[in-house]
Each structure stands twice: as structure tokens, then as C-alpha cells.
Subunit: 375 residues, 4 copies
């Protein structure tokens, strides 16, 4: 038995998914083997080349053909954000399971029907918030949920990279198209909001400030392009559990490359991580002997979730692609175990998107905004 | 010739000042020798013991006597915040120079007359924002001001410690008295705001959230005390130069001991420091050779301001007390050089206080608040 | 066309190889597809289970059968060290290419015939010194070879782990059998010696000290076992280029998990790395502006060798398994490109082994020992 | 009552001592006040200027005059190494206590009569191995001596700086004079050997390799100078307690500024520090909960020896000069407490020197050398 995968899109994430489907089958003992069946891209030539490069059995220049193909079990969407909804809705209607890159959609309003359709159809869904899959994230969550650091009351999260710093390059042009979402708020903001929810629970309200740092960029043709989407965003957060926090995202964070970093403060301890050191967590607990207090640097190892499936020796480290591999394992197990549910699913991604929308609305109003007010 | 110092208060900061006055005279070639002349404290016995321990020539149980003493040139105030104004005003009236611990006063309204009186009287003033005196801070400012990291557009600052985490101890009880200022906002918030202004320039407006984490503490007598001052605060910042940023302060930041940390993002570089590593600055500049980019860890050394006065060898490190020693040098030079002006003076401290007040008012209103609206 | 792989042994490294063969085919554009054809292990049941788990098409309980199978192109040896020679010699005689885990053999005397046989037969060989494959290692070598840090004169290398610290467990019992090599000297010492040679060139002579820290361990049956192989080793090194250095290995290095760390000092710069942070290199160059000198933390990224084949974004990090994947790519390309030669080959591994033997002999004699004296 | 100090030499260390004598009187509650009475230097003009700058009451161009002055209680020697013996012997003969910078003398043979004379005369002595005075060193020693990390079996120590890297400058010319000792072996080697003995106990034998990296330098007059003293040294160590280790020193360690770093491995834990982060210790203990193991970063604080005398708040950090201040406190208390003995005294410094001499002799012979064979 196999799970026949149809991939739409073959860019950075399309390739990452293809690698991860193959790796998951090697690394984990999956209930069903994924089969790279069909790849769709913008036109048939692009699709053919990608299918060959990524090892898909067949290809098509029309994603609707892929969605309509009765042999496909899972539709995997890695296209620009603004295309997710139409594709996912079509896939759900065709009875497929859907795996979609983040953010789920440019707005919560666009995401909502996706959730509703999926839940109505009973298809299984997943969104690629890969940082949730790091064994270090699982460790952080375990520490928080077990009460090891007491009652958590403070959070500080960032996702800082600098790939959009250079004003002379219009990298990944679609990301500057407002219909794809609000720039960094959608792209990296959704990652760090998903981590915040994962570790701390629901967010009630936000007070945010967006910033366009490079207000004119150059198109691939050399033309000036006026920029309307955010390069940076900072937000205060009120969590439902009473904790307070901040979240910031920037794709012009000079010098930072994958600074996905969280700090959680609790009444009996604290933890910190920065995924530029992907395999480390800093843990402090009160009650250490006097004169011996400090943050302990925990290196990921086989004592932590999923690590041993990759390598049995502590300190021997996972890489970024391994996070995607774990994600795929969760996807396939979620689809194939009876009553299983991949996670984070469309609903969770919709909840993330509501926070994103609240952040944007808060910035527009210059005031606190309740996430509940986002429809 | 000497500068006769009258110290009011002999706690943590009183002692730190006494050590620093003596050290400054050893380390630097001062224009005038400070003389530890007179110490005032809450009563004559406390004052006598402190004068002996700290090496003051005489003592008094009445600070008014100190202020009135015609032989005193400089009044040094290290008492609880709510007492600064009365003492400083009296000292200024008596024609003394005044050196006051931070924050200048519990509110800008209380601070303003202090500034006006000092400026009217022409006495010289200084406030103890000691982190501004770190050679690493001077280096950061030089890097920013010289344009080495281009136009700065982002700031992120924290001052995190955890000395108030334990709910069973009412440490430094006066800090929980609302008339001394708003808890951590006054105590640590003033430090990080002063750093933000120092590095980035004036702050136009803020959107802040205060938090009381431990809402009941225990008095020294074992009685429960309801807490009304903030344990944590986070604020969004709009700088006058267009940059955006955040600032956070917590005295319940579990595990953090002196995390006075700033990040500055510019169009051509970035810098970061965390004073738990007091002698290090991380510097990134664009334009490094491809494949060799990264943050450089600069260790303080004789190439940096004031360092060589302490030790001629790089990497040999200053300590916290050395910051106070530099501060005292600045104070004495500012007083004694013709046209000199110690810095940060009362006016700068008042400007810091206006930001503090704006933060509190923003929290109260749940909205952005302009610093200019603080009288 | 495919490269049919026969794997002998299915422990930690056997599985790592299987994962890497599959990953290499996904990640890289290989000249030929590896095919997991046949797996041999100690008996047919073990082999069958392993073949199924690791995805090999068939299995055998007799490695000689694997070596004799005319359809096998490459024999991959991951058995205990003392078995390498017989298996490799048989494979070479059968005209196979051979990929062997490190160390090549327990002694240089045992390794030498392996080199000679392979070179005489013209088969291609490779030994699994995976740390050489890290893009950070390639970066270090490029920096040294280009002269960026001037003439290198100093080296300091360690490989510290602690998996043998617990005296109550006789982990991986064969590693304590002296016929498999001298404990940590063979196991981790060979890794760090290979790195030293890779970065600094040939080693002329050594002065070393071995140490047995836990002199009695407990067998799986609970019996005491007297230990004769080294738990730690330290050696002074004289390199052929005139540089001096030290190398140390320990499998009882309390708290260290994968501390494969090197420092190289040159007349115009220095570099350092520690593979507990697998994606970082610290680089210092003289001639930085005054007051801006320091070590730069370079994060692995697409500017560095092989990185972009995994992920296009800097800071997004490779894991331990990715090193093996690069190794396999080098193996397959070395086998299939005309005139190609995988590296490090048996000869290089033999040279590493001569240093290992010189270290042991130096310890025995308590004096410097020339590597050339090792036959 | 006061302790009248006569200082010989007013360079880097002369000034550091003067600062520390004054600071010690401020920071600590000393049994007797030190009085900066008399300063001797190479000629009367140099001495006069230095006395004024450093705050000594009087001065002389003839150190013999200082030693002969009956009002002087303590002779403090900060001259080049080769002058220590004659000065110290004269001071001891005159019945003075003697405080001498490290190393005690260029050779153990020169140091021995100093020890014997001091012990015969009953005068008190101390040598300036200031790194022993760091609260972090005290913490490390406490951890080792208490058995917290079990039986210690491994040591790794370095003292790396780069102030002699530039071949175009003959910095501190006397350090290249072989009669002052063997270059870095004397200068930094003595520091790290003293730390090794302090933490691990006596050293039985050594196997060492010296290296001259820059074999020709330029004199202040621009003439070439052939160098005969070591720029680097590495040594294997056998400790009397059975532990093994290495020690290395370099004053051409490109990029390193004050890398005084030790690692100690024990059967139940390990510790590490690097004094480029002067206030941090890394501690690992076995027996941490599974999945929570790691090195804990302990920041110096009031729970550690002597810290609270400087500042009551953890994380607020001491600087290099503070180590000298603690050293002076130990000196004065050792002199003035009945039966007191400053430490490390001349005998300890002689034992350090024997190790240094053994290292040099081992290098000369190319073989292990017993410290006991050094007379």
C-alpha cells in the first residue's frame, strides 16, 4: 500500500517536501509508503523538469489535472500564498487529504472556508510550520506542560532573517505582492506566532507596529517597485492564560540568518532557544543549589522526541531538512492511523492567521485588537 | 584643591559611589581630588557606622544638615526614588552640584522642577545611568554615529533580572511603594530607556503593557502585601529618526542576572550586546566577503574608550564597579572643566522619565501615547 | 544504470549508511543511482530483519556470499574494526569497490595490505571519516589553503565524547577488545587525526600519553572485565610543515557529546570550530580595523561547499546525517567519474593509522616517535 | 596602624598593584591600612613621575635605598623577572615581607634561595598569580575539592594571548632576553601551571615541546634580533593524583586576548572556564534527569567567594583589576593575621618554577622529565 502524493509547486519548499517524503520513508517506520506520483507546476516544461529532478513519476502543467486525478491521495501545495485557497478547496472537494505550506492563506477570511471545507469533508490537513517539529521545540513544550518551570507568565519570540535586506534585489517577487499577505508578517510572522501558540497557548489580543524599511525595490526588469508590505513587525501579546509577551519578525534583520528564538519565563524556571543553534535549549530552574544556579545548555539527543530515529548519539545534531522529515512522518501517521489527525492542521493554521490579521489590524488602528474580532 | 562630597544614603549604591570616588582618583588623572567629606543617613547611628565603613570624614543623621554645610561642593543622592526631589532641590538651592541615582524621580512631573532649578541655578548635575559608561556602550554609539552600520532602523532592548522573583520575600520594600515609581518600570526600565535614547536618539511615542506577576508579597513582618507596581513591562517604540523598536524590563525574569541587552539593526550592519558578558560586542557589517559573513565578537580593549585607564591589555575586562568609576570621572571632569557639563544630566534623566511616564500612561489607556504629551 | 551496494553490518553505522545512500540520491544529482541490493549480517535472521528495516532487496547470513555475488559493485563494511581487513581483502580480490568505516584496521600493519591490494587491483576505496565532509571543514581547509590566515604554525584538536564514562555498562563490548584497536585511540583518535592531517598536512612525529580511566568494567553478563584499551589519549604533534600542535581524544570526557573541535593558528589569522555547533566556524584575521578586531562567527550557508544542495538558505543548518550523505556523494562520484578517486581512500586511512600506531608506540616508550618508523 | 609599602618598578604591574592597594582598602575591611610609602624605579626622574602618578609619598632612583629604609614593611617587586632574586633576597635580609610578580625567577635554581631565605627569616611572601584569585577559580576549586564532580582524572589548560604576534615590534624587549626566562613559558606558562597545580595538585612529570614561531624580531632601534625564547609551548602532564592532562601557552595565539582556560574532567562531572569570560563557569554533573543533562553556565555572584565585597548583585561582574584587589587583601591578611600566610607564597611559586624548568628540560631532551629532578 502506498500514499500517492501530488505536489503543486517545485520551488524551495517543493524540493524540501520531496526530499522529506523520501527521507521519512528511510528514517521512520511509516504505516504506508509515500509515492511521489505527480507534480504540477506553472507549465508543462517546468513541471517535467521538476518531476525529473525531484523524482516524481509523472507531471502536468495544470494543477487542476492533478487535483482531479483519482489516483492521488494527498495534494501537497507549495505555491505562493495567494494560490493556496483555490487549490486546497479544489483538492478537498475532490476528496483528497491536503498538506499546505504556511501561511495557510493571505488572510483569515480566505483561510476560514478552507478549514470549514476540510472539516466538512473529513479530509485530513496539515500546514508546514516545521519549527514545531524540532525535538528542541518538543522538549520546550514538555518542560512547560509538565510544570517544570512553574506557571509561565512571560514570552519573547522572534523570527529574524535578512534575505530581503538588499534593496537592489526584488527577491521572490510574489512575496511583495500584497495579495499574498503582508510581507514578513505572513512569511516569518506566521512561524513565530505558531511557536508562541504551541508553547504558550491561545493569544487573546495584540498591539502591533509594522514597518516598511525598504520602501522602493527593483523589479527583475530593473524597474522601481513601490513596496506596501511590511519588512518588520513587533507586537505585544496577551495570552489567554494571563501571560504577557512580545513577538517580532523581520526579513531585514541584518546579519541574522535563522534566528527563530523564544524565551519563556515561569515562576519556577525559564527556557530559551535560538534555532541558529538548532540543537540547543537553555533551561533554568529555581531550586538549584546556591552558587550553582545557571542556565543549562541541553544538546538534543536520543532522550528527546524523534531524535533517535535519525542518530543514536547525543550531540550529533539534526539539520533543517530533518524537521521537514519529522513533519512528513506526522502527516502520514496522522492520515493513516485510525482517528489520527495530522497537526498543525488547517484549523490551527487558521488560528495563527487570525493572530496575523489582528496584528495587521492593530497596526492600522494604532491600538490593541482582539483576536476574536477577526472573523 | 579638592571636591568635597556629601553622600546621602549608604545602601548598595551609596557604597558603590564611595568605592568609585576612591577608584576614580586612582585610575584617572582627575582635575580635582574628590574628598569623602560627609555622609548622611536615616539616623546618626546608621550614618556613623556607614561613614566609618565607607571612609567618610564625618556623618550626620539629618540630610538637611549635609545640604546646608557650606564646605560641601557636591551632594550625592542614593536614597529611595521618592526622596530625590526634595533633597536635590534643597541642594540646588544651597548652590551645590548634584549627583543623583536613577531614576531621577518617580514621575516626570516631580523631575521637571529639579531640572528647572538646576538649570536656573547653573549647578551641574548627573544621574547614575552607569551602563552608558561601559566602553562597549561607547563603542556601540561610535559605530552607530559613524554610519558604519548605515541608517539604523530597528532596536530591541531589554533589562532582565530576577531579584524580585521570590514571592516570599519583600526585597527592598520601598521599591514596591507606588510613590517611589512604578516598580520595574522605574528601576530597570529607566536603564534600558536611557540606553535606547543614547544609542538611537529621542523616542516619540510608545505602546506598552505592564504586568504584575506576583500580586501579593510578604512584608518583613510576615504580613501579606498587595502589590500594585509592575513586575514586567514591554513597549513598542517609535523613535524620532523613524526607527522602530521594542523595550522590555523585568525584575522577575527567571534566571537572568544582568541581562542589559540591545540589538540595533541598520541598513549596512547590526550590533548586539548583552551585559551579562560585559566586555563583548557583536558586530555585523554588510560587504564582508562572500562566505565569510558573520557577527564579529569584539572584546573590550585599550582601543576602546576609557579601557586603557584600567588595564593596557585587551580581553582583560572591566567589571561593574569600573562603570561607576568612569561615571565619577565624567562627573568630576564635567564639574571642573570650564564650560563642562556632566552627562547624563538632570535634563536627560527627565527625558528618560517622560518616556517612562508615557509607557505607564500607554498601558493605562491601552493605546499609543506620545512622549510629548507628558508634561 | 545503478551502483549495486552490498552492506556488511547493520548497527549504528550500517543504518547511517543506508539512510545516506537513499538521501544522496535525493539530494544530489548522482551519476548513477545506488541500489541497496544485499545486506549481510552475523546470521540470516539478523540479516533478514535488517534488510527489511533498511530497505535492502535481499540478505545473507554469510558475508562471503555477499562478496562473491557478481552483481554487487560496491562492498560497504560497517563491522567491528578487526573484521575490516579480511572482508575488504576478499572484496578487492573479487573486484569490488570498497567503502569501509573508520578506522581502516586495528593497526597500520593490518591496514597496509588492504591499501596495496586495492591499489594493485585498481578498485576504488573510501573510509568513513565523515567530519571531513562538513561544509565547515571544507571552509576551514579553503581558508588555510588560500593563505587567508597566513602561514599556519599551531594546531589544537580534540574529539571528546562521554559514551564510555559509565563503568557499570560495557557498551559496545567489541570496542574494549584490544584486537579491535586501542579503544578511544582507534575510535575517536582516528577521527581527529584525520582532521589534523586534512587541515594541516602530514604529521612527522608524536609524543603521546594514553590513559585507562575505568580499569574494570562489567560485561553484559555482569562479570567484571579488566580493561586494557585507552579511555583517553593526548599527544604532541610535529607537522611536516613545521607547525606544532596537540591532539586529544576521550570517550570518558564527562559532559561532552560530539566535541570534535579544532583550532588553527596562523601568522595572519586563526580559526576555530567545535562540531557540537556543527554549522559554525570562528574566523579571526589580522588587519581588521583597530577596535573592531575579533573572531567572526560564520554560519554555514549556500556560499559554502555542498550546503545549497540541502537547503538554499543560510543558517538553516545541516545535521550529522547530512555529512554521511555528502560522503556517499563523494564515494559515488569518485567511483563513477573517469579517473575519479573517492577520498579519503584506503591510503589516506592507512596514513591516519600510522599516526595512531605512532601515538601508541610513543606512549609505550615514553618518548617521541616518528610516524615514518611505523611500517 | 598601617602597612608601609615600597614598590620597585612602575610599569603595567606596578600601576596595577598601586590601584589594587588602594582598592583593597576601599573594598575590604582590612586589618591594617596599606600606605603607598616609597617607589623605586630605574632612575630618580622616572621614579618621581611614577610616584606622583601612582600616589606614592616618596620616591628613589635606587631600589637598594628602598630595601634599606627601615620604615618600609613590605617590598613589592614588579621589575623584569631576572631582577626579582637579588631584590627579594635583599629585602628578606632587611627583614621585609616580600610581594613579587610572577614568575618568581627565571629558573628554579634562582628561585630556591629566595624560598629558603624567606623561610629562614620568617618573612611573609606572596607571588602575583592573580588568576587564582578569581571567584570563579575559587568556585572551581571548591567543586573539585568537595567531590562534586567525583574523582578528577583529566585536565586541559591554556593561556593564549597574541601580544607578541607582530614580528615588526619587539614588545617589552626584556621578555625576549633569555636571562629573564624562556619567553612565553615563563610569562604565561607560569600562570597556567599555577592554575593546574591549584586545581589538580602537584605535577609529577611532563613531556613538552617548545616552539619559536617568529625567529627574528626588530629591536626598538630597527635592528633585527634573533629570538631564542619560546613563543609557544605544549606539554603533557602527569599529576601526582594519577590524573593526566595537557597545558599550553602561547603569546602568538592569533586572536586570543586573555584565553586563560581550563577543563577538568571527573568521574561524576566536569567543569570548564575561559577567562575571556571572566565571570563564567560551565559545570556538568552526572545524575541530572534524563533529557535535561548539560553544562550549566554559572555567573559569578555573591554566593561565590569574595564577590559580594565588590557588588551584591549576581551577574554584575568583576574585572581584571578586581582580581589584583583580592590578591592584595590576601596578602595583607596573610601578613597581619597571627600565624597567617599569604598564598601563593615563594614556595608555591618555586614549585611552579620547577614545573616550568621541567618543561624546558623535557623539550631539550625530547622525552618525559620528572619535576623532582629539577633541583
Amino acid at each position: 500500500m502506498s500514499l500517492r502524493v501530488g505536489l503543486i509547486g517545485s520551488g524551495y519548499m517543493g524540493r524540501a517536501h520531496a526530499l522529506a517524503f523520501r527521507a521519512a520513508a528511510s528514517v521512520f517506520d511509516l504505516p504506508v509508503e509515500p509515492e511521489l506520483a505527480l507534480l504540477a507546476d506553472i507549465d508543462v516544461d517546468t513541471a517535467r523538469a521538476a518531476a525529473e529532478a525531484l523524482g516524481f513519476a509523472s507531471h502536468t502543467g495544470d494543477w487542476r489535472e492533478l487535483v482531479a486525478d483519482p489516483s492521488i491521495d494527498l495534494v501537497d501545495i507549495t505555491t505562493p500564498n495567494q494560490l493556496h485557497a483555490e487549490m486546497a478547496l479544489a483538492a478537498i472537494e475532490a476528496g483528497k487529504h491536503v498538506y499546505c505550506e504556511k501561511p495557510l492563506a493571505p488572510t483569515a477570511a480566505e483561510a476560514r472556508p478552507m478549514v470549514e471545507a476540510a472539516e466538512a469533508a473529513g479530509t485530513k490537513t496539515m500546514v508546514g510550520f516545521n519549527y514545531l517539529k524540532n525535538p528542541i521545540t518538543a522538549l520546550a513544550k514538555e518542560i512547560i506542560d509538565s510544570g517544570e518551570i512553574g506557571e509561565v507568565f512571560g514570552f519573547r519570540g522572534i523570527h529574524f532573517e535578512d534575505y530581503m535586506l538588499d534593496p537592489n534585489t526584488l527577491v521572490t517577487a510574489w512575496r511583495f505582492d500584497p495579495t499574498s499577505g503582508d510581507g514578513v508578517v505572513a512569511d516569518l510572522g506566521s512561524h513565530i506566532v505558531s511557536l508562541g501558540r504551541h508553547l504558550m497557548g491561545p493569544i487573546d489580543s495584540v498591539a502591533a507596529e509594522r514597518q516598511i524599511v525598504v520602501d522602493e525595490r527593483t523589479s527583475p526588469d530593473g524597474d522601481p517597485v513601490k513596496i506596501e508590505v511590511a519588512d518588520q513587525v513587533s507586537s505585544l501579546l496577551r495570552f489567554a492564560n494571563g501571560a504577557r509577551g512580545t513577538v517580532e519578525a523581520s526579513w531585514v534583520a541584518t546579519g541574522r540568518k535563522m534566528a527563530v528564538a523564544c524565551e519563556v519565563r515561569g515562576t519556577e524556571g525559564a527556557l530559551m532557544f535560538d534555532f541558529e543553534r538548532l540543537n540547543e535549549l537553555q533551561l533554568y530552574t529555581t531550586g538549584q543549589p546556591i552558587g550553582r544556579e545557571g542556565f543549562t545548555t541541553i544538546l538534543a539527543g536520543p532522550a528527546h522526541q524523534d531524535f533517535a530515529s535519525f542518530v543514536p548519539a547525543p550531540g550529533h545534531q539534526l539539520g533543517f531538512n530533518d524537521l521537514k522529515t519529522i513533519e512528513i512522518r506526522d502527516l502520514i501517521e496522522g492520515i493513516h492511523s485510525p482517528g489520527g489527525a495530522p497537526w498543525p492542521d488547517f484549523r490551527e493554521a487558521y488560528e495563527v492567521q487570525r493572530v496575523i490579521d489582528a496584528i495587521i489590524e492593530s497596526d492600522r488602528r494604532g491600538a490593541w485588537f482582539d483576536v476574536d474580532e477577526v472573523s
